[in-house]
């Protein structure tokens, strides 16, 4: 019975269960971890050897790998971007952006350390402009990627003004802050709505019908405890400052401010520490719920998406990633340390200590440069695989009727995003 339900709700248009022909899955990820790891490692070595210039080729190769291993309705995506486009984008960023950015940083440097109110406002403006520019760069990066994504011979695309997107993000952040975090789901939904409605396949746009209200409960579940703990802690600091300011002329002011700081008590700090440990997990849980909701509320003409994402594979991947980082950094250190110490003990040769320092410095460099490789082969790989495994698309055949868009895509790639170091790959 379940079988028939699955089959009849299947988007392929009901392959006859008695037929021997294999039904084409909506979404399939054919990537393998080992080739991806080898590719990421090769990219790392080449990038190091070329002082970073290879990264445009590296990014392109990685994207080609992911794109061609993601199939919708039996047809794989195609990444049509060229490394030289990324290089042009980078050169433009160098020519235009870097000087502006340098002066900007210089101004920031002068302003730091001053407590004047005007300068504080200037600082806020400085950070806000920086954030807005990051979002601008991020949007352009998405536009480039989508314009270079081809499926069934038709390009994707992203319209909409990057500046409007940046304004939306800044406004949303301010609103979230003013409402002590309650507006956050609406903010997230608003950005996704903006992106979804401006994303197109050929000449047709995606649509989105969701509301932040639907995400309020998951969000409150995940964020209430951390936010309350944060507010109590900040409140105690402020009240402590006010107390000690009021008592500034008093001889016992030091004692009083000490009391103000410690008035929260040990139980609070215990809860606070547990909260700090739990927040990343709660955050990931919320992100999974959010992603699921946002995907399910997105449509394309008659086609709709359904992705019952699960928390366990995602958190499992994050834990594996953390464990791999831990092993990568700790095991070699222990090895080098024990070998060197035993050498010193046996031969009383202190130069072994010196070579140990060299080894540890060298190993730390390797660990730092290996982080992106591990993130790629564990986090990016697992997330992609899980989303592809659970994603179902109803009425996927409506995509077949889409015509090519006449709008040209951007002619060069994501230089600003590259310079600002946003985006994983």
């Amino acid at each position: 019975m379940t079988e028939t339900i699955v089959a009849s709700s299947g988007p392929v248009g009901g392959p006859d269960p008695s037929s021997s022909e294999r039904p084409v899955p909506d979404v399939q990820f054919t990537g393998l971890r080992m080739p991806l790891f080898k590719l990421a490692l090769k990219n790392l070595l080449f990038t190091l050897a070329t002082f970073g210039i290879y990264r445009f080729w590296a990014k392109t190769r990685i994207r080609q790998y992911f794109w061609r291993n993601i199939q919708f309705h039996g047809q794989a995506l195609e990444y049509a971007g060229k490394p030289s486009e990324l290089l042009i984008g980078f050169l433009i960023a160098l020519a235009v952006l870097v000087p502006i950015f340098a002066v900007y940083k210089g101004i920031g440097f002068v302003m730091q350390g001053s407590s004047n109110v005007t300068l504080m406002l200037l600082n806020i403006a400085y950070i806000a402009t920086l954030l807005a520019f990051f979002q601008f760069a991020f949007y352009r990066m998405w536009r480039y990627r989508l314009s270079r994504t081809v499926w069934q011979g038709i390009h994707f695309g992203l319209d909409g003004s990057p500046w409007k997107y940046a304004a939306l993000r800044l406004g949303g952040l301010v609103l979230t802050f003013l409402t002590l975090g309650i507006a956050y789901p609406w903010y997230r939904v608003a950005i996704w709505r903006f992106r979804a409605r401006h994303t197109r396949y050929g000449d047709q746009h995606f649509a989105f019908a969701g509301s932040g209200a639907d995400l309020l409960m998951p969000w409150l579940g995940a964020a209430t405890l951390p936010i309350v703990v944060l507010i109590i802690w900040l409140g105690s600091i402020v009240s402590g400052m006010i107390d000690s300011a009021a008592m500034a002329t008093d001889e016992v002011s030091g004692l009083l401010s000490f009391q103000a700081e410690s008035r929260l008590g040990g139980l609070f700090y215990l809860i606070a520490i547990l909260t700090v440990i739990a927040s990343p997990v709660l955050n990931i849980w919320y992100r999974v719920r959010e992603a699921e909701y946002l995907i399910n509320a997105t449509t394309f003409k008659n086609a709709s998406f359904y992705a019952p994402l699960r928390f366990r594979p995602i958190i499992g991947s994050v834990l594996r990633w953390l464990a791999s980082l831990f092993l990568l950094s700790v095991l070699p250190m222990i090895l080098v340390g024990s070998v060197s110490i035993s050498t010193i003990m046996l031969s009383h040769d202190m130069t072994a200590g010196m070579s140990m320092i060299f080894w540890i410095i060298g190993l730390s460099v390797i660990v730092v440069t290996m982080v992106p490789v591990l993130s790629m082969t564990i986090l990016n790989y697992d997330f992609t695989r899980h989303v592809c495994a659970v994603l179902q698309i109803q009425n996927i055949e409506v995509f077949d009727d889409v015509a090519r868009s006449t709008r040209p895509g951007p002619s060069y790639g994501e230089g600003f995003a590259d310079a600002l170091d946003v985006g994983a790959f």
Binding site: G52, N69, E78, I88, G113, G153, G353, T369, V402
Partner: protein, 368 residues
Amino acid sequence: MIARALYFDGRIAGGQPATVTVLAQNLVISCDNGKVVHWPLSHLRYVDPPSDGLPPRLRNLFDQPDRLTFDDASDLSPLVSLCPNLTRADSAWLQNWPRLLMWGVGAIVSIFILFQIVLPSLSQVIAVNLPPSTETRLKEVAKTQIIRILSFDSGNPAGSPKICNGAGMQILERLTRALSADSIVGIHKYYPPRIEVVDLDIDNAFALPDNTILLFSGLLSSLRNPNELAGILAHEIAHLQMRHPTELYLREIGTFAIVGLLFGDVTGGSVLAGASNLLIGSSYSRNAEEMADGSAVSMMNKAGFDARPLADYLSRLTSEERTYEKRFPLLISHPAAADRAAHIRDWATGTGSALSEPDWRLVRQICS
């Protein structure tokens, strides 16, 4: 060869089931709906490198929108020998080189202006207006870095070297007060600098941000005359009065940030940037050195000290070669050293000795 495939015309997304055969020098795609497409064999390219398990995909040249996806089990090996350009990666360089060239030149010009004009003038302005607390932090970072690197050079990599505090310290303080008086530079009140003596066998001295002079015990034991020491101190004091060290370290930080941007931090570029930054090293301009010399000699003259030993010291340095100066040529810029010594001899008018014989002995024993 006969194979089944899906043909995508690049105008409408849906694929057409088709039978694919080779006829003369063409790949003939006969769609089930009657449409027939001819692709010259020499135009055929793989969409992506063939990999196991994935159905092969072909395209017609690199700029045509249509695509051909073969059925899973299709065997394309008969095609491979017929199509010479199948695996050719058509690069976009041909179309993109004018823009690459234009923006490449633009980027180089921009970076040149940034390093030659923007960064120096910016660090000059900032050096004068830097909040004192920031400058103190800057000094701590610079000091730790210099001591760590020089400890390595002098074969003492492990420990942090001793900061000396012998009876000679008061004499050094008296000497700096004799050379310079309080003044105002920018928003900063200038006062005779703090001197810190580090017990390391390094023949050098550094002016650091936050009005600090770092002396190494190796320098004290290599000097032949108290006036050499007074001259070196006067030279460093001159750098401090002109706020050169702060400017230099700000420029270093700026360079670090820009080089980081160039290499792209996604790939551990900051590590490379850090390493290259150490190799690039740092030095004052020759102009700054000459200004400091002039100011040092007039300080010596005013105090009645003979400045000529400073010239002797500089001439002696040109005949020696030491590795750490390549990293920190703060005190001496090699090619100019002979010229500078000559100028100093010209300007010197004082004749007195900077320290009495017992005081000089105490200073030299500051670390013992």
